[in-house]
């Protein structure tokens, strides 16, 4: 078992999909669920617990549809990660009506970091953001 397999912080989990991988983020608020979904996504690429928060990025977007907001949040993070040559391990997001403002911190890839599988993007498949008795849950399939 690799460090990546062991290091699965609370709030994140996965579900099966033939070719790709389903990610789930849970939290007390929709924002916490989105943050957990981002951790689940980036934990597929490396052991995010071993990352240093050397650099941070910020982002904002407008989206009224909360499910499309999840997809846009994850894909903006993936885009920024590639653009800046960074791998992220910490995430934060706030919602103000249709406006979403967030960010992430991490570091450039270094040889010692364990390599998982590259996430190409978040899809609309099995996409669901819902409030349950236990809190919020955000899920979708990511293409790897």
């Amino acid at each position: 078992m690799t460090a990546m397999d062991k290091a699965r912080p609370a709030g994140e989990s996965y579900f099966d999909h033939d070719a790709d991988i389903g990610i789930i983020g849970r939290g007390a608020t929709v924002e916490e669920a989105f943050e957990a979904a981002a951790r689940a996504t980036f934990a597929l690429m490396t052991d995010i617990g071993s990352l240093r928060g050397e650099r941070s990025v910020s982002l904002e977007f407008e989206e009224a549809d909360v499910e499309l907001a999840l997809v846009r949040w994850l894909n903006l993070l993936l885009g920024l990660s590639h653009e800046e040559g960074l791998i992220f391990g910490r995430f934060w997001i706030e919602r103000d009506g249709v406006c979403w403002r967030g960010g992430a911190s991490g570091e450039p890839w270094r040889p010692e970091l364990e390599r998982g599988v590259e996430v190409k993007g978040a899809t609309l498949t099995m996409l669901q953001v819902r409030q349950t008795e236990a809190g919020w849950e955000a899920r979708c399939v990511v293409d790897v």
Binding site: T2, M45, N75, R115, K120, G121, T125, L127, D143
Partner: protein
């Protein structure tokens, strides 16, 4: 898959009868009973959804290697007529636009290079950037990236990657027409700055293979193949640029569909009419991504040749063929005796033009287009030839790979990467990777039996088997 819902047409093809009141086009699934039984029920659900899209011509089809995808199933083929409200779907192309396989044939035979394989594996793994977070040596500014998007493999050859003869054996002669770099976002272009000439991860690979078995001697001769010969296959696509285009247009086309009154049975089938501004915008961006993929594989072919030359004196690698399997292309096909311009979505499916087709390179025209079914790293791959009957059966389409038989999560529970690498080494297959997790996810046992897929492809008349290739070295991302 529960076969009770299906009706058998013949031994190698099936359909799904309409339920009372159900409105959709025909669905056709190619494959043996054994292959279909192992497919997830969601394949059937997804291809039935495709059959509900407007402007579909002929059936919505799955190839024998089909598995559950997003929107379209992987291994899905569907043709749309722009003059009948036909649509273009980002989910019908996939995120890795123009993912495909470049096949190189060598002047080498296994016995003469067997002793060099460990050195070759090391050289290839050092020179081919592979895996998450890896960038290539080539860094491009936006203006030159725009040239990549319009020039494809031709741009790469001009830059000194490979030789002009390569272009004769690449689909579209190395350059897709109709790219619109302006339709590609700045983010997508920035993502690609360091990713030209990189392999990626997941199911992407570079394999050194040996021709293990010839099935069709005449076709093998035309393709320049013989038993014992060393072949190289490079499986990758349009990298970050294609992924970004896919993600951006998936959302914008989903919104466009809603605005244009297209009822989507699954939001992932995000679509717009081909003749709409939204549809044309995506097509321009997708064509640019196809050129990005063609250039990427051209650079990787060059890097492969350089690595071979360093290790094996006199090594020569010619392009056998380069074929994409995540595309939507405008093609002319005969339907009920009339030639029509159709947009053929092939998501995880290979174009397979038959003998005499003008787009098949002159050297292969009498035989048909080379088709590659990439297998898992522990089993093998097939080279096939397009058939005349594939035109009527599947708009000249065929399988693209072994197809997954289980999820990555299940594979991780069942295998350990290190153990697999050791077991394959004991069988004479050298795996070079930076991701043991990736190796476990891509375990040979996680895939369908490639022999069954290739046989079903042939028996269904989609393409005929020419040669079976056995892996010797596999560089994984």
């Amino acid at each position: 898959m529960e076969l009770t819902r299906l009706k058998r047409i013949d031994e190698w093809s099936w359909t799904v009868p309409l339920a009372p009141g159900e409105k959709r086009s025909e669905v056709k699934l190619y494959g043996s009973r054994e292959l279909l039984e192992t497919m997830d029920d969601k394949v059937l659900q997804q291809i039935t959804n495709v059959a509900r899209l407007p402007g579909l011509v002929g059936p919505a089809m799955t190839m024998p290697d089909a598995h559950w995808g997003y929107g379209f199933p992987i291994g899905g083929v569907a043709a749309f007529d722009p003059d009948q409200g036909g649509i273009i779907s980002a989910g019908g192309v996939g995120f890795d636009i123009s993912c495909g396989i470049r096949c190189l044939r060598s002047n080498l035979e296994l016995p003469q290079i067997a002793e060099f394989l460990p050195s070759l594996a090391r050289e290839l793994s050092e020179k081919i950037p592979a895996g998450v977070g890896e960038e290539g040596d080539l860094k491009l500014g936006i203006p030159e990236l725009d040239q990549v998007l319009t020039g494809g493999a031709r741009w790469a050859v001009k830059r000194g990657y490979g030789v002009p003869e390569d272009l004769d054996f690449i689909e579209e002669r190395g350059c897709m027409s109709g790219p619109v770099p302006e339709n590609v976002s700045a983010v997508a272009k920035k993502r690609q700055r360091g990713e030209m000439g990189t392999l990626g991860s997941g199911n992407h690979y570079l394999e050194v293979q040996v021709v293990d078995r010839i099935h069709d001697a005449a076709a093998a001769e035309a393709y320049g193949l013989h038993e014992g010969q060393i072949i190289v296959s490079i499986h990758c696509g349009s990298r970050g640029l294609g992924h970004q285009i896919g993600t951006e247009y998936l959302v914008s086309l989903a919104k466009a569909a809603s605005r244009l009154g297209i009822t989507l049975p699954d939001r992932e089938l995000a679509s717009a009419p081909i003749n709409s501004p939204e549809g044309q915008e995506y097509i321009g961006a997708m064509n640019a991504a196809i050129n990005c993929a063609l250039a990427n594989r051209q650079i990787l072919a060059h890097l492969t040749r350089t690595a071979f030359a360093r290790i094996i004196k006199g090594a020569s690698l010619e392009t056998l063929f380069d074929v994409s399997h995540n595309t939507c292309k405008a093609e002319r096909h005969r339907v009920n005796g009339r030639e029509r311009l159709l947009y053929i979505h092939r998501k995880g499916a290979t174009r397979a033009f038959g003998p005499g087709h003008p787009d098949v390179p002159a050297r292969y025209r009498e035989i048909g287009q080379p088709v590659v079914i990439g297998g898992s790293m522990g089993t093998g791959s097939y080279i096939l030839a397009g058939t005349a009957e594939s035109e009527q059966r599947a708009f000249s389409s065929a399988s693209h790979g072994a197809g997954r038989a289980m999820s990555r999560h299940q594979a991780l529970k069942q295998w350990r990467g290190r153990q697999l690498v050791d077991e394959l080494a004991a069988k004479g297959i050298l795996i070079r990777t930076r991701s043991m997790r990736g190796v476990a996810e891509e375990a040979p046992g996680a895939y369908k039996d490639v022999d069954l897929v290739a046989e079903a492809t042939e028996r269904a008349g989609l393409a005929r088997r020419v040669a079976f290739l056995r892996p010797k070295v596999c560089v994984k991302g």
